[in-house]
Symmetry: C2
Subunit: 337 residues, 2 copies
Amino acid sequence: MSSSSPSVLTKEDIGRKLATVYAPIAAELVEAERIFAAELASRFPFVQNLVHHCADFRGKRLRPALVLLTGQACGALTSDHPVLAAVVEMIHTATLVHDDILDEAFIRRHAATVNAEWGNETAVLMGDYLFTHAFHLAASLDSTLACRWIGHATNLVCEGEMQQVHNRGNIDLDEAAYFEIIRGKTAELTAVSARLGAHYAGADAATVEAMDNFGRDLGVAFQIADDVLDIWGDEKTTGKSLGTDLDKQKLTLPLIRLIAMSPPALADRIRHMVAEPTAETREELRPHLESSGALDYAWNQAKVYAAQAGSALEILPESAAKGLLRNLTHYVVRRSA
Amino acid sequence: MSSSSPSVLTKEDIGRKLATVYAPIAAELVEAERIFAAELASRFPFVQNLVHHCADFRGKRLRPALVLLTGQACGALTSDHPVLAAVVEMIHTATLVHDDILDEAFIRRHAATVNAEWGNETAVLMGDYLFTHAFHLAASLDSTLACRWIGHATNLVCEGEMQQVHNRGNIDLDEAAYFEIIRGKTAELTAVSARLGAHYAGADAATVEAMDNFGRDLGVAFQIADDVLDIWGDEKTTGKSLGTDLDKQKLTLPLIRLIAMSPPALADRIRHMVAEPTAETREELRPHLESSGALDYAWNQAKVYAAQAGSALEILPESAAKGLLRNLTHYVVRRSA
């Protein structure tokens, strides 16, 4: 039933998988992994088994890395940083588990989703289990600040997700509404990750604010890129079910742009394809997305936000960590290569 | 689509609905309602509509009442008490919304469940929205204590729920496992409600501990009674879909007892009925549950826990609030009348 992979990422794993990006924070990332596993440990084998399984969903460690790298770039890491890194990763994992229910997805990082393997009911509860443990862990810090910031961010994440579900099948969704949704569902959590990293390293208010902007723009870039890959990517490379946005009649930037720039007759045909998607829809849309330039437009928007995130880093003194944060802004728009 | 009922319970509503039980804390309960609505308010009409709808699910206000009445019985209420009352009610409402997905229930307090009206996806997100806002609200207090206690309780609530789902269709579930499940899924939240009420009123450690025990035993009594009513009750009186435990092959105390005390052939027949329930199963089981005394046994267990809860109150000086808490121990085992 369950995967036998370890839930704690060892130094060797990090070294192998994420060497170039995260090497200087490897020790703190390992500590965050340990905290993550310790917080979620359950005396019930059924629950523990699920914890192990979900640990494998996490690949890039983007949010923990943001906490740790912004912390290092803004000052010195404290023992609070790995705790915060574990908290944001737990929140993120909770949203993945619940998203897979919404998307009826079967594969996540080359493993079965919780809903596919154990059913929707267990997936609902497993997401809840991750959420509550995240808040419980955040409350282990000295002040309520992290709980407040993370609670506020998660409030907006949920609102963004609800707006997205509400707009399913809305073939008239425009760019403004799209950006509002992804700012909530994705960028709030990356923003708060960077903000927390900076604040807990003792950064001044202006720097904390700049890191918030950095995380927010990086999140927007990341989500646009993710949406492009869902239409355009390769299942083997991304390790998850693709075309789920289409299946779920979820309009994302490439399609919104394509509809907006197409002559009325073609726009109507595309709207119809999106409203009643089939197994071939993704392939049928590709030539239109490419020839119209809509895909390039979306990809370029991701690059614009990534570059904006890069500019927000200018407030920081040069350091290895700052260099790695800059690399992240390049990485998020290069994942498809 | 949505209910037009107010989400804020007015003094008149409380006076009408809950007059005898909660009158002395009516002002604080109204304040808790105001905080509840203010915390959950959304600028998105779709979300706000759901908030209004879910506010109607809440009937007895048992958990907020526990916070406020234990506070009043242990000392003096502070401005933190209505906040804590709103937090525990929000957590409770979140579990209701998610439980209705698990139970595939259609009716909750005479209204449509979120899953029935808006689908499972919206119900997943609405539960998450309630959870995150509860933690965000708890973090508005001065220290992390409430976040820690509530986080810990919610951790155990989720674990209890997961054990319950894991044991669906387990026709060999015994009393010990049943009690372990309900101690998690129900009694942790009533325990922490009473504990918080006492602590924030300045009670000493022994009194806080006694209130924890009070809330815990009350929760166990309440859940047993709820499980008895699910098999034995009347849909009109309870205001929700009944027999869902049977539909979901969830063994509860009356059936566990019936199987344990039946001769082997009858026990096997009952196990078979539970393993493959039909629309008639509830009615078919009734005579067995009554003649065997299994129903009386379960009801009596509820009374034992209610009485134990009553004993825990002895540490308190006499007061109107203490009298009301004692009334609650009678009320939870009298709901079926």
